[in-house]
Each structure stands twice: as structure tokens, then as C-alpha cells.
Symmetry: C2
Subunit: 408 residues, 2 copies
């Protein structure tokens, strides 16, 4: 008998029929002899509807009250899901964030989990109940309601799996798992059977939006292995876990793509000032997230600095940087380029396999695709290409590393 945590997102519980589907799955898992804990989000659309209501009341709703408002979405879905399980003859109790003992700290609307006190849950499990826990929420020591921000329900599931010492943690989504590349772009993309936390993190931060990076980081920190699965079938999914030596046999695990990128370049910098710090500070103050950063100083001492960001931030970035240009010297210039995409090649295997970078750039050359910026980490190579070239680039790299050959 195993203790299994299963997390279902908003689309999996978006209608009464889908709630019944999830109830059936949880009950089947329990009837196989397991202890079962379900973690659920609000029904699809409910959170957006509540946010809209709040904005009808005021253009700037208080975050404390947004938490009180939004946490009702999950509270409704846990009650309805319990009723559905009971209707099928199962034994289930709902567990709010407060009852789960999820103690949070930090700011409203993006609370952080500090500790979990699972006593209430453990005694309900011991009574033979399926527990249905509200994701995305917790309470502070003082009793205030916190929501956990984007991807909060995944985080709840992983934290509860850690606190309950679960044997299995399954994150149900609307895809079969993590793929070697987006199947809409590369038709023969294959499901990855297992990958390490670090690979999952790099895939997540590079645009594979199966899960938020913070949930993966939390799982890594607390050694929670989890599996990404599809709530509409029973296919095996992708297991994300500690790195094991066998994982290094594969040079490249997958490719991720992020469109809608833009590049800002400050060139002709001659004044001897801490220009990188000044640029980054100005962008941080304007709340612009930048991603890749490339700096270069030529032999004549003239510096050039580029960075990428989402294209929606481009206008704000120009406005934030213009006032600085005079400090950087008489020839300093601000240039921008939109219409870019980022392509990342990820795999812990590239630490031991030489020539991964060479293969990537040879492939680009063979395809005649110009490469813009390049940045590398120990397990990732990222490059920018014209947005119009990115699908062709992804398919070519995918084929070059034989990623289609992974068997599910």
C-alpha cells in the first residue's frame, strides 16, 4: 500500500463531468489499495471571473483581499470533488489550506510555504478517507489567508508529498508528459520517460510551460520525485527525479523554444563607468525581466552590451535606458531588434559528451540559419534566431541529436 498524491489543475476540474472523471480516477487509485491525497485547483475560469469582479469594484484591489477572494475558488472545487467521490460510494473529506496546516510567509498573492503541519491530514487518512486538498493556498501563523501565486497548486502538491512522505507524486495536466520538443513544432517529438530536476528547470525556464520553475526547485530541495501525467488517459508520463548516472548516457534531453523575444544593444560605450550595473539597475527599476546578457569589449576598449527580453517590454526598456546614454560616451548608441526567438538545447549528458555545441552550430550552418546571441550553461546551450527560422532550426537540431528515437 502506497501513499499517492495526485494533483489536478483547473482544466481537469473545469466542469461537473470532469470533476466526476477526477473523482473516478482518485477512487480507482484508492481501490487498488492505496492511500490517496488529491490536490486541486479552482475550476477553470473561476479565478479569472473573481479577478474580473474585483476589478469591477476597484482598479487596484488590495492583495490581502484578493487572497481572501481567490482562495474561495479552490475551496469550492474541493467540496464538489468530495461530493462526487461520495456519490460514487467513496469516503472523502475536503481539506482547506488552513486545515492542511500549510503555513506561509511572505507577501499576499505570492505567499511562500514555510512549514506544513500534517497532523489533521494524517488522522483523516488513518480513518480511510481520500483527502481532497485545496491547492494554491495556505495561512500565516497569524491566520491570514495567502495564495501562492502562479503554479501554486503544483507547489502545494509537491510540498504535501514531502510533508506526508508520499511514495508517489503525480502532477496531472492536459499533456502526456514532457516532450523532447513542442509536438506542434516538431512532429516526431517524443515523450521523455525521465529527466533530472536540473534538466526540468532548464526546460521550464526556456519556455516549456508544463510547470513553473519554483515547483521544480521545491521538489529538488526536498527530494520529491514526481511524474507529469495526462488526466485524460492512463499513459505513463515523465518522471522528474534526482540525477542518476544512467541519465548522462543521453547527450541532449530536449529542446525548448520561446518566441516573442527582442534584443536591446548598447554599443559604442567609451566612458569608464560601471555600465553593466547602470543598465541592469535601470531595467530592474522599470520592472523589466531580462534574460540573456552578452557583453563584449573590443581591443580598442569600446564596449558593447546586449540582452534579451520579451518583446512587450521593449518600449519600456528603451524609455528606461535613453537617459543613461549620455553617460556612456559621445558615440554610445541604443539599438533594438524584435521578431526573435530563443532556442535552448538541454541535457545533463552534455557535461560528458563533447561536441554538443559543435553539432548545434554545424546544424545551423547547414540549414543556413543565422545565429544571433549565444549563451551557455553547464547543461544548456541557448541561442537566438529570427522568429521565422525557429521551427526549422528546432526540427534540424532535434533530428541531429536523434531525439525522435526516444521510446516512451
Amino acid at each position: 500500500m502506497a501513499l499517492i498524491v495526485q494533483k489536478y489543475g483547473g482544466s481537469s476540474v473545469g466542469t461537473i463531468d470532469r470533476i466526476r472523471n477526477v473523482a473516478r480516477r482518485l477512487l480507482d487509485t484508492a481501490r487498488e489499495g492505496n492511500s490517496v491525497v488529491g490536490v486541486v485547483s479552482a475550476m477553470q475560469g473561476v479565478t479569472d471571473r473573481l479577478i474580473k469582479l474585483a476589478h469591477e469594484v476597484t482598479p487596484a484591489p488590495s492583495e490581502r483581499e484578493l487572497d481572501v477572494l481567490l482562495s474561495t475558488g479552490e475551496q469550492q472545487s474541493i467540496a464538489l470533488l468530495c461530493m462526487a467521490i461520495q456519490d460514487m460510494g467513496g469516503k472523502a473529506v475536503s481539506i482547506t489550506g488552513a486545515q492542511a496546516g500549510i503555513r506561509t510567509f511572505g507577501s499576499h498573492t505570492r505567499g511562500r510555504i514555510g512549514s506544513i503541519h500534517p497532523g489533521f491530514m494524517l488522522s483523516r487518512l488513518a480513518e480511510g478517507n481520500i483527502l481532497i486538498c485545496a491547492g494554491f493556498q495556505g495561512i500565516t501563523e497569524e491566520g491570514l489567508i495567502h495564495t501562492l501565486g502562479r503554479g501554486g497548486s503544483d507547489l502545494s502538491a509537491i510540498a504535501l508529498a514531502a510533508a506526508l512522505k508520499a511514495d508517489v507524486c503525480q502532477i496531472y495536466t492536459d499533456v502526456d508528459g514532457v516532450y523532447t520538443c513542442d509536438p506542434r513544432i516538431v512532429r516526431d517529438a517524443a515523450k521523455i520517460p525521465s529527466l533530472s530536476y536540473d534538466e526540468m528547470l532548464e526546460m521550464a525556464s526556456s519556455g516549456s510551460k508544463v510547470m513553473q520553475a519554483r515547483s521544480v526547485e521545491f521538489a529538488k530541495k526536498f527530494h520529491v520525485a514526481f511524474e507529469v501525467r495526462n488526466s485524460m488517459n492512463n499513459n505513463p508520463g515523465t518522471i522528474v527525479q534526482e540525477e542518476i548516472p544512467a541519465m548522462e548516457a543521453v547527450a541532449v534531453r530536449g529542446i525548448s523554444i520561446e518566441r516573442g523575444q527582442a534584443r536591446v544593444t548598447v554599443s559604442g560605450i567609451t566612458a569608464p563607468v560601471a555600465y553593466t550595473a547602470k543598465i541592469l539597475n535601470a531595467l530592474a527599476e522599470a520592472e523589466i525581466n531580462i534574460d540573456m546578457i552578452v557583453a563584449n569589449t573590443a581591443h580598442d576598449g569600446i564596449a558593447r552590451q546586449s540582452f534579451t527580453m520579451h518583446v512587450n517590454d521593449l518600449g519600456h526598456a528603451q524609455a528606461a535606458l535613453k537617459p543613461l546614454m549620455a553617460e556612456f560616451g559621445p558615440n554610445a548608441r541604443l539599438e533594438t531588434e524584435a521578431g526573435l526567438a530563443k532556442l535552448s538545447v538541454v541535457g545533463i549528458g552534455m557535461r560528458s559528451h563533447s561536441g554538443v555545441a559543435a553539432t548545434v552550430f554545424q546544424t545551423m550552418a547547414d540549414e543556413g540559419i543565422p545565429v544571433g546571441m549565444i549563451s551557455t550553461s553547464e547543461i544548456k546551450i541557448t541561442l537566438t534566431v529570427d522568429e521565422r527560422d525557429v521551427e526549422r532550426a528546432a526540427s534540424a537540431v532535434h533530428a541531429a541529436f536523434h531525439l525522435n528515437a526516444i521510446k516512451p
Copy 2:
């Protein structure tokens, strides 16, 4: 500076505009220099919608989960109301039943308030906040969510007023207060400026549905004076309070009416059995609420027993009583009569004013209205009449006691 509790029902917060109206009223009260605690229900329609959702999932939703589901309605309205007050420049915080320290016991969906721990609220009040508390909910010692059943938000307001030692407790509704009679029936009915708890209880139990009797009983027990007011104007309402000697100056305070009544009579009882207990037990087992009970034994020992109930229960009552008839003797008969109404004349003054009953029955005789059953208490006379006669009867009694002469 006074501490004022104001309770607003679901129709008072039924739309965003109405939420703004309530926010304005609370803020005005605070800006007059008072500490203010608002207690609110779910937005009109929300509770019904949630109940409908639950019944789409299962024909018999668990009461534990219904409480989890329904309590979200009030949690949403407190958050939205706080946002509205903040939008107007006020300082407000929402308070859930748990945060209010409302500890309940008893059954789910009809929890009873055991104690209130107001520490959290008092410190928020001391910081200069308007508190917006969720009505209708509390939590058990163990942390389970309870709702308080019908009229639960009124009960919350009165209990919070008691726990916070409020100077004023105002119950806002969609009428100006308690009237000498239903103004739709008696056109010159007048608003009653003040009445005692007992009079309010008799008015409530006799069909004046301004408030549930349990809230009035709670107020009486904890000596909380409260005022019933209209949320759409600033008119003075009706104050309900401890009995004071001046109240006895008025013989009759008001008249209430309840339609849709039926009478069941068991006659010809000759067998020496505890027939009243048998009849009442059979009806209690069938969950039928009976109201007036009249029994009579003639000189020859043949007994006759009548009682009234809502006409919807008549079929069930017949089915529950038929099996008993054989025990009551060979001549026992079961008779029923629908189409009745109850008319109650209420006033603590009738204790000291003689002739109230005589005036009532003389008025009926003058009007030629036949009276069915009669029952009296120290401060109430109730009689049944044909439903078609009840408006005429009410107007005549209202005039006989000069109730239209009350000045608001």
C-alpha cells in the same frame, strides 16, 4: 465614539453597485467617529447557485462539504466589500468566521455558536480598520467549517455585537422596520418604534419574517439591543430591546398573519391510551412541524384533538396518523381542513390591559368572520380563520386597537 455593528443581507450586497452603497454607509458611519464592524451575507443568488452546483454533482451532498462550499459565498462578499471601502479611501480588513474566532458546535449546515474569541478583531479595530466579517459561518474547535443555517448572518451580527460589547447593533433589511401589520394587507400599518424581545419573538413565530426567532432569542439571552433598519435609506427603524415598563402602556403591539395553514382533527377517541403523545410522536417521526394544539374531552369521556400545520405537510400528516386510528377506538375519525390562516395579536401590554381578548372576538363577531381554533399565551392571542377572511379580519382588529395611530 461608539462601536457599531451593522449587518447587511444578501440583497443589500447583491450587485457591485449595491456593494458600493454598503461600503459608503459603513464609511460614513466610521467618519462620524465610530468604530465600525460590518457583517455580511453572500451576494444574492450566490448561495442558491452553489447549492445547485452541489446537486448537479450528487442528489444528496454531504453536509460537511456543503458547509465548505457555501461558506465561500460570504468569503467572497467580505473581500469585495473591503475592496470597495478601500477604493473610497477607507481602511478595512475582511474577517472570516475563523478569524472572528466564532467557535461553533453541533451539526454541519446548522452549527450553533459556542463562544467567540475576539482578540484578532479587537487588535484590527484598534488599528483603525473597519472590520468586514463573514456572517453565517464559524469553525469548530477542531477547525472544521460550519454554517449556521437559516438567518445565520443575523445571528453572527448579534453574537459579534455581544462579544465586542458593541454600543449599537443594526440589522439592515429591505424594509424600514417591524410594522403593526403587513403593510401590503393593512394599508395604514405603522412602523413600531420599539418593542421587547418577547414581542418580537411572537411576531417572528407568527409569520412576520423580518428575522428568524433564534437570532432574537440569542439577543435576548445576551442582552443585545438591536435595530431593524432599511439599507436603502436613513430612516430610524425598529429597536428590539429588554422590556421596559413604558412598553406596557400599549395594549397591543402588532398583528401578524400566516397563510397556507391546515387543520387536522382526530375525533371520537374513546380508547384509554396516551393519545396526545402517540399523535405527536407519529408526526415528529414524519418530521412534520405542528403549531397550535387544541384538545378537548367531553363529559362522556370522548376526546377530540386538533392541530395546525402548513398545508404542504397535510398529506404526510394523514399518512402518518392513519395507522394509529384503530388504537383510538371504533369511532375514531381523522378529519382535515385546508385553506386556513392564522392571525395573531401580540403585545406585552395585554398582561395589564384587560379585555383584549374580548375586543378581538367582538370584532370578529361584528365582521361576521367565523373563528376556528383559538390559543392564547401571556402576550399573544392566536386564532384561525378562513384564508379568504384574513385580510378583513386583520384590518378590523388593527383598527379596533388604533394601531394606525403609532407615530414613527
